[in-house]
């Protein structure tokens, strides 16, 4: 149990099994090491601007391209993906994709199970519940939240970060995937 970090929402204390915190470089290496990662992108990614030129959704596209992980576009993110010329592997509700991921062996392309599921841009309370479902009913899966705040129900999560530090950590992942600092 990681006792050093409190959940972003103070009351969101799930039980004895809580997420390990990580930094961007470790997250990058984990993503790189995953055999079949999957990225799930929610509607908050449309609103969050990382800098003048990038939204969180743009970041997700870059992450997907560098890691080779397919994207599931949830809610109305599909439109923004398509407008950017990026075709997600699937468009479905965050609930619908998470429900299917509980099945051992299920994958978005039907060929072998995912081993790492990455959530980005899903509103905190809902994401917490989605991660809880996988923590309790998909023991074969590891999950990672790349959002700014600590998600105790994930396997790995960032701690609660200032905006700038969060962006730094996100960028660190990209660097690792590009084979830069901390990469393998």
């Amino acid at each position: 149990m990681n006792v050093a970090v409190t959940p972003w929402q103070y009351g969101n204390v799930p039980g004895p099994k809580t997420a390990l915190t990580l930094k961007g470089d470790v997250a990058g290496r984990l993503i790189k090491a995953a055999k079949k990662p999957l990225i799930i992108v929610g509607a908050e990614a449309l609103k969050v601007k990382l800098d003048e030129n990038r939204t969180l959704l743009d970041y997700a596209i870059e992450l997907s391209k560098l890691s080779g992980a397919p994207v599931v576009a949830t809610a109305n993110t599909l439109k923004a993906f398509l407008e950017r010329g990026y075709k997600p592997a699937a468009a479905m509700g965050s609930i619908e994709i998470t429900e299917r991921l509980r099945d051992r062996g299920w994958s978005i392309d039907g060929s072998g199970a995912h081993d790492l599921v990455i959530y980005i841009g899903i509103t905190y309370q809902l994401q917490s519940q989605l991660l809880s479902s996988l923590k309790n009913f998909a023991l074969h899966l590891r999950t990672m939240s790349l959002d700014r705040y600590y998600h105790p129900n994930a396997t790995w999560s960032f701690p609660n970060l200032s905006f700038d530090k969060w962006v730094d950590n996100l960028n660190m992942i990209i660097e690792v995937l590009r084979g830069g600092v901390g990469g393998r």
């Binding site: 972003w8 929402q9 103070y10 009351g11 799930p14 039980g15 004895p16 099994k17 929610g42 509607a43 949830t74 809610a75 109305n76 599909l78 439109k79 923004a80 398509l82 407008e83 699937a90 468009a91 509700g93 965050s94 609930i95 619908e96 998470t98 429900e99 299917r100 899903i122 509103t123 905190y124 309370q125 809902l126 519940q129 989605l130 809880s132 479902s133 923590k135 309790n136 009913f137 023991l139």
Partner: protein, 786 residues
């Protein structure tokens, strides 16, 4: 059976001086209702196990999806038990069963709350009007209580009959709740079946509560032209004494209005204002539209702190439990009229009115409990008149000039935000206010749930909710809107008019906005969704807090949706049925479509009617701000009847959804009742209860969840037109599952025909061999068995 009927004695012989009788049966107690208005169906007064097979059919297709909010079980002294990683608790329970158990308990709380509400109403109304008071719902409503007829198997004629039906409901709630005790039920599906049972009972309880008040208090009886009432934080005249009634049981509020009128003080609003908050408000204006509706549950503390209310009367349900503390801050006395919420107050029902008024006006006590409702009404009015000039609308909301000073205590620790149920950036807003920028606090006002968790968590003791309210003062003062008062049930004549287009699919769907105000991004979203669907000619129904939120929005023309759209149950109609308990009229309308339009037998025929609704009635609920246990049981009751529900993202915290999988062919296979063949009909409706991430997803999903296997080609084309248009509008392309709903080319929306044909070619779509079936999940309804 809930009602055991009268106690019967068989007397072999009686001989007195003048009488000699033999083999006489004597009955003592209330006789069961035995009139043969329709042959008794297969499931009168169903027990826990009676409809289990129906539940299992639903649960096979719509599998429970659990999202634990807590990985532990803390319900007995064996615990806390850690249920993670497949571990069982000391009692043997697994995490999935524990989730189902908690949902079941929530449904039991919800159903018990409505049943208790109904019991109080019925007993009081029998006392006032007599048990033979007729159930007269007017000339255009003959199927007066569809839920009660369907479940209990009686056609209630009097108030006394309602008490009889309630006996059954109460007994079943007790029986079902007992299953949650340690060492009872163990299987998650059986817990779910019990939750569905409780949900069904809840709809009967709600129907009893609402019909009882409609027939006795003169509420509208399904009137599509029910009057418009004023709603909004700014709708009351703060220069007058004001009584604020909060809760759900309107009886005392009605007594207050009657007392005002009898005392020569005119109608509400003339000499003294009567305003309601939450569902009591709905029912006050159903009684007298001169009363005011302050707004949904989320306005409680904001309004109390504004100091406008001189007396606060609380009845039951959804009242902020700090209300006494809050009222004390503004020197307003509280009168509790419900023994379910006595708030630690002295019970003074036996004291004379004048003495109680003195106690309250002099501040000897902060409030009292009065369980004699007529006396409570007199005390409320007389206290308001005397205390108003003393209080002078004392408020604790800072003036604009003071706001920056109060906010300056903020050290931006973020505790407020991290305790906000919807993660509002309160810290940034308070920080901006320190520098004189109130705009961020004013923005938060529109999204804020009003729970005050933020200030309870503030280490500097900043009254954050008061800051938010103060910063939005300019909005609040002009916050005046119009809401059509709750009209109650849907008329039988309306059902005859729209039954066919709904069942055939020509009206794209009935979408009901129900539930509380735990909105992810403000009540405005509910109104925006309603407007989009009204423009598309859906029948939009509303109740409870959602009905109020719909009112607090102006269209481009500057009017409210209630002013712009008809109140009739018709395409493009906006139907406010009323308070929470009026939700039973929404399920009732679905039932009446099966009964009145399709002539399916109603009496104790639950499975067949639910099967009809699931396969034919394109209805869907949206509980965008669902918060309470009542909302859980209402939604679950809709689900058992075959009506899907969408909740907002916070609804995921109910822990459980019922999800279908469109790719699972077998689960969407039905019987064709004409031939007995098993036929795949596509994933319609795809889910039974679903949590959407945002309003865009909710709208698209609602359009999809109105699809039914029975749609005609014209109906399917109309429904798909809206699904495709909404999907394209918000998602930018054609739906990726469109081919699963197109049975023949005739189903294809004309406006997108070429694009869709091209898409169908890509996915190798073939016309269905059996596009039109008579769909049923019930083998016994097959007419020709092979």
């Amino acid at each position: 059976m809930g009602e055991k009927g009268p106690m019967k004695f068989l007397v072999k012989s009686i001989k007195t001086a003048g009488v000699s009788l033999e083999d006489v049966e004597i009955a003592v107690g209330r006789l069961a209702i035995e009139e043969e208005w329709e042959p008794m169906g297969p499931t009168p007064m169903p027990k826990i196990e009676t409809l289990r097979s129906w539940d299992m059919k639903l649960l096979k297709r719509y599998r429970p999806f659990y999202m634990p909010i807590c990985d532990l079980c803390c319900l007995c002294t064996y615990g806390k038990c850690d249920l993670t990683g497949g571990k069982r608790g000391s009692c043997g329970l697994t995490i999935d069963a524990q989730q189902a158990r908690i949902v079941m308990v929530a449904c039991a709380i919800g159903a018990a709350t409505h049943a208790s509400h109904a019991r109080e109403l019925v007993e009081l109304l029998i006392e006032r009007y007599g048990e033979d008071w007729p159930i007269d719902m007017g000339g255009e409503i003959h199927v007066e209580m569809p839920n009660t007829r369907l479940v209990v198997g009686i056609k209630p004629k009097t108030l006394g009959d309602l008490a009889f039906a309630l006996n059954y409901v109460e007994e079943q709630i007790v029986q079902t709740l007992a299953a949650s005790h340690t060492g009872q039920e163990s299987d998650y599906l059986d817990f779910e079946s019990k939750a569905l049972h409780l949900g069904m009972l809840d709809h009967v309880a709600m129907e009893i509560a609402d019909v009882a008040q409609v027939i006795t208090f003169g509420f509208p009886k399904g009137d599509p032209d029910a009057p418009l009432a004023e709603i909004g934080l700014g709708c009351v005249d703060v220069t007058k004494p004001l009584i604020l009634c909060i809760g759900h049981n309107v009886t005392n509020s009605i007594d207050i209005i009657d007392f005002i009128e009898k005392s020569g003080l005119g109608a509400p609003g003339e000499m003294i204002e009567v305003a309601g908050l939450c569902c009591t408000a709905h029912d006050i204006v159903r009684y007298n539209k001169a009363a005011k509706v302050v707004g949904p549950i989320s306005y409680q503390l904001k309004f109390v702190r504004s100091g406008a209310a001189d007396v606060i009367v609380t009845d039951e349900q959804c009242i902020h439990t700090s209300i006494l503390h809050e009222a004390q801050k503004v020197k307003a006395p509280v009168i509790s009229v419900s023994n379910k919420a006595l708030r630690g107050l002295e019970e003074v029902s036996d004291k004379p009115v004048d003495e109680i008024v003195d106690m309250l006006v002099t501040g000897k006590v902060p409030g009292v409990a009065i369980l004699d409702l007529e006396k409570a009404a007199a005390v409320a009015v007389l206290t308001a008149l005397r205390i108003a000039p003393i209080r002078k609308k004392f408020k604790v909301v800072p003036d604009k000039e003071e706001l920056a000073k109060v906010a300056s205590k903020c050290v931006k620790c973020g505790s407020c935000r991290r305790n906000c149920p919807i993660d509002l950036p309160i810290d940034e807003a308070v920080s901006a206010a320190k520098n004189g920028d109130l705009s961020k606090l004013a923005e938060i006002h529109d999204l804020c749930l009003g729970c005050a968790r933020c200030e309870s968590a503030c280490p500097r003791g900043i009254p954050i909710l008061s800051l938010i309210t103060g910063a939005a003062d300019y909005k609040i003062k002009t916050s005046k809107f119009k809401m059509r008062v709750g009209r109650g049930p849907i008329l039988d004549t309306e059902i005859r008019e729209v039954g066919s287009p709904i069942v055939l699919g020509e009206i794209p769907g009935v979408i009901a906005f129900v539930g509380c105000a735990n909105y992810p991004a403000g009540g405005r979203e509910v109104a925006i969704m309603a407007e989009e669907l009204l423009k598309r000619r859906y029948i939009v129904v509303a109740s409870g807090c959602a009905a109020m939120s719909i009112a607090e929005y102006r269209t481009e023309e500057g009017t409210t949706l209630y002013e712009e759209y008809s109140g009739a149950f018709e395409a493009g109609g906006l139907v406010n049925v009323g308070s929470c308990v009026a939700n039973a009229h929404i399920s009732g309308a679905c039932i009446k479509i099966a009964n009145i339009f399709a002539r399916r037998r109603l009496r104790a025929n639950y499975e067949e009617i639910a099967d009809y609704v699931l396969n034919r009635v394109g209805a869907c609920g949206i509980a965008w701000g669902a918060m309470s246990q009542k909302a859980a049981s209402i939604a679950t009751g809709f689900n058992r009847l075959g009506v899907p529900v969408i909740v907002g993202p916070q609804g995921a915290k109910y822990r459980r959804l019922y999800l279908g999988r469109k790719e699972d062919i077998e689960s969407f296979t039905v019987y064709d009742a004409r031939t007995g063949d098993k036929v795949w009909v596509g994933p319609a409706p795809e889910h039974l209860i679903y949590a959407a991430e945002n309003k865009e997803e909710a709208m698209v999903m609602a359009a999809k969840l109105c699809l039914r296997p029975n749609d005609t080609t014209k109906g399917r084309m109309i429904k798909l037109t809206h699904y495709v248009e909404l999907y394209k509008k918000f998602y930018g392309t054609l739906p990726p599952d469109l081919h699963l709903f197109i049975r023949t080319e005739a189903d294809i929306p004309i406006t997108h025909k070429f694009e869709i044909l091209e898409y169908l070619k890509k996915v190798d779509w073939k016309p269905w061999e059996r596009p039109v079936v008579d769909p049923t999940l019930l083998e016994r309804l097959i007419r020709v068995k092979k």
